[in-house]
């Protein structure tokens, strides 16, 4: 069970607290059995969770996508990959820990894997800069993709960032150019590239490693051109209207699938990936494997053409 409950999950938190209390009594007491009562409460809690998550509003999805207990890139790496060897640095300026990556085995084959890492506690969040990369992060991504090209390895990327870091140092070192080059590198790769949005797909910082042959998304993830808060403060001149902005911008997995921006939605366990991370990540692994298989046997030229056709088609087809 998660340690952190979101605001809208409060009723569940209360029920869970009650259940925990009764469980403690049940264990220590041999008086009249309260098993029946416990069973009822558990059932009620389950139903409540189901009802809450059945129709999550875009704003609630945004909160789930940012949930601190949600599995992050390093969790996926642990769960789905073997023989991981991290590779560090952009060979120009430094090593950005907001984007990590290296070589690993995925379902028996060597791949290049990379992703944004947000961190799980204060210390690691600071080390990973909350998953907000500087130019060095994107230049490292380009380097890793060059390696993938040289040794014909497929590329798998995990996207989870609020966006590229808006700071003075990053601007001085060419943040815009670094993002543009990384996007370009994805698009010109002669090997398959698959991206999975596992939490937040935040703007240019996300697309830099998500311009892929197949773009997958976890059910409660979001993918957006600007954060709902950012959009609200610019268009509505009121950051409090983030809820409305989240609604208007169509940033949920289902909306993105309808718009042709993502190819596949990976279902999450009831109540979100953070309630059963292993199950969520295994489902993701299967989806990635399926996507990779679909690209098997395509030549470099065909892979490039597929990417071009995929992205050119967005907005041309299926819109009213």
């Amino acid at each position: 069970m998660p340690t952190t409950y979101l605001e809208f999950e409060k009723p569940i938190a209360e029920l869970q607290a009650k259940i925990a209390e009764l469980e403690a009594v049940d264990a220590s007491d041999d008086g009249p059995s309260i098993t029946e009562e416990l069973g009822k409460l558990r059932e009620k809690s389950e139903k409540q969770l189901k009802d809450l998550y059945k129709n999550l509003s875009p704003w609630r999805k945004t909160q789930v996508a940012r949930h601190p207990d949600r599995p992050h890139f390093l969790d996926y790496l642990d769960e789905l990959f073997e023989d991981y060897q991290e590779l560090a640095g952009d060979r120009v300026f430094g090593n950005d820990e907001a984007v990590l990556g290296g070589l690993a085995t995925f379902k028996g084959r060597s791949v290049v894997v990379m992703g944004h890492e947000k961190g799980h506690n204060t210390e690691s969040r600071i080390r990973h800069n909350f998953g907000m990369a500087h130019p060095e992060g994107y230049r490292k991504a380009v380097r890793l993709m060059n390696l993938a090209e040289r040794f014909s390895l497929p590329v798998i990327t995990f996207v989870d960032t609020a966006g590229a870091y808006p700071g003075k140092a990053g601007e001085e070192r060419g943040q815009a150019e670094a993002i543009a080059r990384s996007t370009q590198r994805c698009l010109t790769l002669p090997v398959p590239i698959i991206s999975l949005i596992i939490g937040e797909g935040g703007s240019g910082g996300a697309i830099a490693i998500a311009a892929a042959n197949q773009v997958l998304i976890m059910e409660h993830s979001i993918y957006s051109v600007i954060s709902p808060e950012g959009c609200a403060s610019i268009l509505y001149r009121d950051a409090e209207k983030a809820r409305d902005a989240a609604e208007a911008m169509k940033i949920t997995a289902t909306d993105l699938k309808t718009l042709g921006i993502v190819d596949e939605i990976v279902r999450e366990p009831l109540g979100g990936a953070h309630r059963d991370p292993a199950k969520a990540m295994q489902a993701a692994g299967k989806a990635i494997q399926k996507a990779l298989r679909g690209l098997e046997g395509l030549s470099a030229i065909e892979l490039k053409r597929q990417r071009r056709e995929r992205f050119y088609a967005i907005g041309r087809e299926g819109l009213s």
């Binding site: 815009a176 370009q184 703007s203 240019g204 697309i207 268009l235 208007a248 992205f311």
Partner: protein
């Protein structure tokens, strides 16, 4: 700036406003604050005496860059309007309508300046013509249309213009001006970053040059995609060029940014821009770059380069005559 430059006798302002002549007879220079006659500005291609490069329309950009102020207007693709049914305090279609009305008003005023009609439904306009004899497609992004924001229309315009350059074996020149992505189109606007990048790939695969002219301002998703992927980057002086604008950064780091941060000259110093070119030299600079990149298409005879009345003497035609002479010697 002292109090004298700011001082106007009481009543002068209302007198100016009351007069029959349009209120935009004077333009305030953003650098020096002085008032400049609009007709003087027209002559100087909207560069103030203090050197501020004011934003200009696609028509003026075409007139500035194309030989003999002649070009063929390019019809740009139509796109799905308001796919998200987006609404903030106004529905998105009404914002589009207002922007179009503003642009066509400007067109009416400027059409007397010469050149064919401009076809512009969104923030992009494209023309095909010659730059010092070299066939060139020029795509101009217009900040006056919803801040030049990058949405589906702009993305499709970019792809169409790039593909036309490939079809006609022409150079592809893009003048950028944008606050970033068009939020009203949500993630569809974000998708224009990879889409335009793919179009650049088509131009470069065809062996044709892709030159970016960065004008004020160029930021956000535009700078993080096609604005920074040129074979050559030319910037107008003083243009704000950034990924995150100064306001966002100041909010993040809670600190004032130094003067000149994220201006063209700063970007050149930091290695992101090749050339900072005064607008009066811009055509000569562009022509020189294209001349070297497309040697087979260069104009044979000598020709005074810029359309501009008084070019700075040190920019042309030296750059062109020297290599030509050398080639003859070889």
């Amino acid at each position: 700036m002292n109090w004298l430059t700011n001082f106007r006798p009481p009543g002068l302002k209302s007198w100016l406003n009351k007069k029959d002549t349009p209120e935009n007879l004077w333009v305030k220079c953003p650098t020096s604050g002085e008032l400049v006659y609009r007709s003087d500005l027209e002559e100087s291609w909207y560069v103030t005496p203090a050197g501020a490069h004011l934003r200009i329309s696609p028509r003026r950009r075409f007139r500035l860059l194309f030989d003999d102020e002649r070009w063929e207007p390019i019809l740009l693709p139509e796109v799905s309007v308001d796919p998200l049914k987006f609404r903030d305090d106004k529905p998105y279609p009404s914002r589009l309508k207002a922007a179009r009305a503003k642009i066509s008003g400007r067109e009416k005023e400027e059409t007397v300046e010469g050149g064919p009609p401009i076809s512009q439904d969104d923030c992009m306009a494209a023309g095909f013509g010659k730059v010092d004899g070299i066939p060139t497609v020029v795509l101009v992004q217009d900040f006056a249309f919803m801040g030049g924001s990058l949405g589906m229309a702009a993305g499709e315009a970019f792809i169409a213009a790039a593909q036309l350059a490939v079809a006609r074996k022409a150079a592809f020149v893009v003048c950028t001006a944008s606050g970033g992505a068009r939020m009203q189109e949500g993630t569809l606007s974000l998708m224009q970053m990879p889409r335009t990048t793919l179009a650049i790939d088509e131009v470069q695969e065809a062996g044709l040059p892709y030159v970016v002219i960065l004008t004020d301002p160029t930021s956000g998703g535009v700078s993080a995609s096609y604005a920074m992927l040129g074979d050559v980057h030319i910037a107008e002086p003083g243009a704000m060029i950034a990924f995150s604008g100064p306001r966002v950064i100041e909010q993040t780091i809670r600190e004032k940014l130094p003067d000149g941060f994220q201006r063209s000259e700063f970007l050149r110093e930091k290695g992101q821009v090749d050339i900072v070119s005064h607008r009066h030299d811009l055509k000569a600079t562009l022509a020189r770059v294209l001349y070297h990149l497309m040697p087979k298409l260069r104009r044979s005879g000598d020709r005074e380069v810029p359309n501009v009345a008084a070019p700075a003497p040190d920019v042309e035609p030296d750059g062109r005559s020297r290599p030509a002479g050398k080639e003859a010697a070889d």
